[in-house]
């Protein structure tokens, strides 16, 4: 976490260093946490300026400590009065598992930059379906709320594996005119994938203007295929691998129709009917070997020198 120490040890040079990267920033204090399940948790970070600037659809890049990678996380909520930004994280690999272990109120993140990406375009649509599955449940919330505030009729469709994993149901109920919960095993709401929920909503409402879907690429692909025959505009939020998030590296490039776009500056929202999801899913496998290795390495030596202070 936030600790003193050189960012990179350079060879040679016995000079005491005056200044070290990260020292100038006081870090980004975690002020709240709630565990939704054994993999998903919510963090509130104190950052009043970002809370003011953040808009639905934007994300941050978090650097947990000075050996961490830069990982993108969607801004799931923001509280302009309290000055906090809320992230909902699912522990899937080394960095997110480590966050789950180490991120508690009282510690500070080494780096957090944002809000990044273009804010979602909250159109004048009168009737929308907002779909969240897996990682996407939290980030769809501010969008649903924004549509509601804009006067739209909002149908929420959220998918979970089973009833124990459900969170924020009350928050969604507040901003959705209808809420359809889908679970894989049928332990709550309707049994099946979110696409089933979409079909149900489309059946009941013939006048849907827009669909917004956030979740794993495979889910967003399925949503886009569900709405395509109906010709309903479908916006998805893409999650390619990123490094800087400022448009400088090109690692986040995605295929949209016949164009290449940088998701961090041109997105992350794109028209789901134009997205090449197979390409995205292939590119997400880029570091498969390394991800396994990192997780195994971390589990072996959970504590690294310097971390005992956090």
């Amino acid at each position: 976490m936030h600790r003193q120490g050189p960012n990179t040890e350079t060879g040679g040079g016995t000079q005491p260093r005056k200044w070290r990267p990260g020292e100038l920033d006081a870090g980004f204090p975690i002020v709240g946490r709630e565990d939704f399940s054994d993999t998903t948790f919510r963090l509130d970070i104190d950052h009043p300026v970002m809370a003011k600037a953040a808009r639905p659809g934007q994300f941050v890049i978090v650097v947990m400590h000075d050996h961490s990678e830069r990982i993108p996380l969607t801004i799931a909520d923001f509280d302009r009065d309290k000055g906090t930004v809320t992230l909902v994280v699912q522990a899937v690999g080394k960095s997110t598992c480590e966050m789950q272990q180490l991120c508690h109120p009282g510690v500070a993140l080494y780096g957090m930059v944002g809000p990044m990406g273009l804010p979602s375009h909250v159109s004048g649509a009168k009737k929308v379906i907002c779909i969240g599955g897996g990682l996407g449940v939290a980030p769809i919330f501010p969008q649903a709320r924004a549509f509601k505030e804009g006067g739209a009729y909002v149908i929420g469709v959220v998918g979970f594996r089973n009833r124990d994993l459900i969170f924020w149901e009350d928050k969604f109920r507040q901003c959705c005119d209808e809420l359809i919960i889908c679970t894989d095993d049928g332990s709550a709401g309707i049994k099946g994938l979110v696409t089933k929920g979409i079909e149900q909503a489309i059946e009941q409402h013939s006048d849907i203007d827009e669909v917004i879907a956030i979740g794993p690429p495979i889910m967003m692909k399925a949503c886009a295929e569900t709405t395509r025959p109906h010709g309903i505009k479908t916006v998805v939020s893409l999650n390619p691998i990123m490094v800087d998030g400022t448009g400088m590296c090109g690692g986040c490039r995605v295929k949209i129709g016949d164009r290449i776009m940088f998701a961090c500056v041109d997105g992350p929202d794109f028209d789901g009917h134009d997205v090449d999801f197979d390409d995205l899913m292939n590119r997400l496998r880029r570091f498969k070997e390394e991800e396994h290795l990192a997780l195994a390495h971390w589990k072996e030596n959970c504590r690294r020198p310097g971390q005992e202070r956090s």
Binding site: N7, T8, T10, G11, G12, G13, Q15, R17, K18, W19, R20, P21, G22, L24, D25, F28, V49, A53, Q58, V63, H67, E69, R70, K94, S95, Y110, G111, M112, V113, G114, P115, M116, L118, V243, D244, G245, T246, G247, M248, C249, G250, G251, R253, I260, F262, V265, D266, D279, N282, R283, R285, R286, F287, E289, E290, E291, L293, A294, H297, W298
Partner: protein, 485 residues
């Protein structure tokens, strides 16, 4: 200058060029003719008084030499390492007509390194004026502008999007050319001037330029956000796994220390046989980093010839010594799939030079029927950059037709009080040009704010440097703002 042997250095990230020792430096100084009208000074984009500092060296006054250098350039240890001297100060030195030119860059580096070793910096007391200036981007342009304005008494805040300052110096140029310690030290000097650096701040998204001038209360803003957005070619296969920009490769390695994965979290997934497209400094850095991280073979694919390669001569030479295979007059046509979404090979075509194009260089044209394939599992694009779109997207700044920021000769943008310089104005250039632009913009900003002292502060006579600090002559009574704390 002594260098690490190629066989040894391809296995480590230590500096390649080891720098002069004092004796060598003095021998080099003796070769200087101390020209009365020195061509080298005119050749240096920031006009360092080169014979002046060489005289101090010969006199044994190393600190004096440092003071002269830092009058014009406060990043001597950095510029001495990375400037394309052969096109600048050294390129025009008359000694070079018959012998090798005086190694100005290496002498400058010696002076800069000496300062770091000796800890030559004191915290000057600069009496503040009431002006606040915000700087966007902590690359050489932003830092130079910040330094000059801080010396003029302004309260300066530098905002940087990444989590560490330095711009390309930090994320792009590898440690074996420019150790991080050198960057930290020279940036430390700026912090000593009272400049505040705020990392993790993406201007345009966290707040806009309009807000900086409005509610945040900055009197002026300088934009030095670099060019930064990598170009691709739009040939088939570009989104396969294993295709990436040199910026991504270098950022992963330099800023994120991917070479030490898994102790550091950021992975790289280096290929075995790597093809780098392009032949500029960025390409050289990508190739040499790949070799050091253990690539078996590194190919450079460039559509023109060695003579047109835009890289620094020294880097090109070092890359050749280290075993990069250069494929001149070759252009990629397609990147081929292994059937599983990864790069397997690249198809290229041979080129020949045709008629000169607008830039005066002979335009390469494909040779019919010359297509060939070679095996590679990683393709790195180093064919230049486009302007970063964020500030353009989020402000009313006027951009030129290439989407760089449009400025006048004083580096004023279309918004009152907002100035810009460096790569974001000119497109990808050099460290010292960016630094020069930052200083020019600082001059314009001082004029805009009505602060008058620049010439006295930055260009004192060659005598009287004993009491100078960061180029500020403390004995100058008419610049009474500066005292030593």
């Amino acid at each position: 200058m002594p260098v690490q042997a190629p066989e040894a250095r391809v296995a480590n990230f230590d500096e390649v060029a080891l720098g002069f020792d004092l004796d060598n430096a003095l021998v080099e100084c003796e070769r200087c003719l101390i020209c009365p009208e020195p061509a080298c000074v005119a050749g240096c984009p920031v006009g360092i008084d080169i014979p002046g500092f060489i005289c101090k060296m010969i006199d044994g006054d190393h600190r004096g030499a440092y003071d002269i250098v830092t009058e014009a350039n406060f990043l001597p240890a950095i510029c001495g390492r990375v400037c394309p001297q052969e096109d600048q100060c050294e390129g025009v030195c008359p000694v070079g007509d018959t012998l090798k030119p005086v190694a100005v860059g290496r002498l400058e580096r010696w002076v800069g390194d000496r300062a770091i070793e000796e800890g030559w910096r004191k915290r000057p007391y600069i009496e503040p004026n009431d002006f606040r200036v915000g700087i966007i981007g902590s690359g050489p342009a932003g830092m130079a502008c910040a330094a000059d304005l801080a010396k003029a008494g302004c309260a300066v805040t530098v905002y940087e999007a990444l989590h560490a300052p330095g711009g390309v110096l930090r994320y792009g140029i590898p440690e074996f050319r420019l150790p991080n310690q050198v960057i930290d030290e020279e940036i430390g000097n700026l912090i000593d001037l009272g400049i505040e650096i705020k990392c993790n701040t993406l201007v345009g998204r966290l707040f806009t330029i309009e807000q900086m001038l409005g509610e945040m209360g900055y009197d002026a803003v300088f934009i030095g956000t670099g060019a930064g957005s990598p170009k691709f070619m739009n040939i088939p296969g570009e989104t396969l796994n294993g295709v990436l920009s040199a910026n991504e490769l270098l950022t992963r390695c330099n800023l994120m220390v991917a070479g030490r994965f898994p102790d550091y979290d950021t992975p790289l997934h280096l290929g075995r046989k790597i093809a780098v497209i392009g032949s500029g400094n960025t390409a050289m850095d990508a190739m040499r980093v790949s070799l050091r991280l253990g690539a078996e073979k590194v190919h450079c694919v460039y559509r023109r010839t060695e003579g047109e390669s835009p890289a620094r001569v020294e880097e090109l030479h070092h890359a050749q010594e280290e075993g990069v295979d250069f494929q001149w007059l070759t252009a990629p046509v397609e990147i081929l799939d292994d059937g599983d979404g990864n790069v397997r090979a690249m198809r290229c075509v041979r080129m020949e030079l045709g008629e000169p194009d607008e830039s005066g260089r002979r335009r390469p044209v494909p040779v019919e029927g010359s297509e060939f394939e070679f095996e590679t599992d990683m393709v790195v694009y180093a064919i230049g950059t486009n302007a970063n779109p964020i500030l353009g997207q989020t402000s009313k700044l006027k951009l030129n037709k290439w989407h760089y920021i449009d400025t006048d000769e004083n580096l004023a943008t279309s918004m009152a009080g907002v100035y810009a310089g460096g790569d974001i104005v000119t497109g990808a250039a050099t460290v010292i040009l960016a630094l020069g632009a930052g200083r020019r913009a600082a001059r314009s900003i001082k004029e805009y704010l009505g602060i008058r002292d620049s010439d006295i502060v930055y260009r004192p006579e060659r005598s009287g440097h004993e009491g100078a600090l960061f180029g500020i002559d403390m004995a100058e009574r008419n610049f009474a703002r500066v005292h030593i704390a």
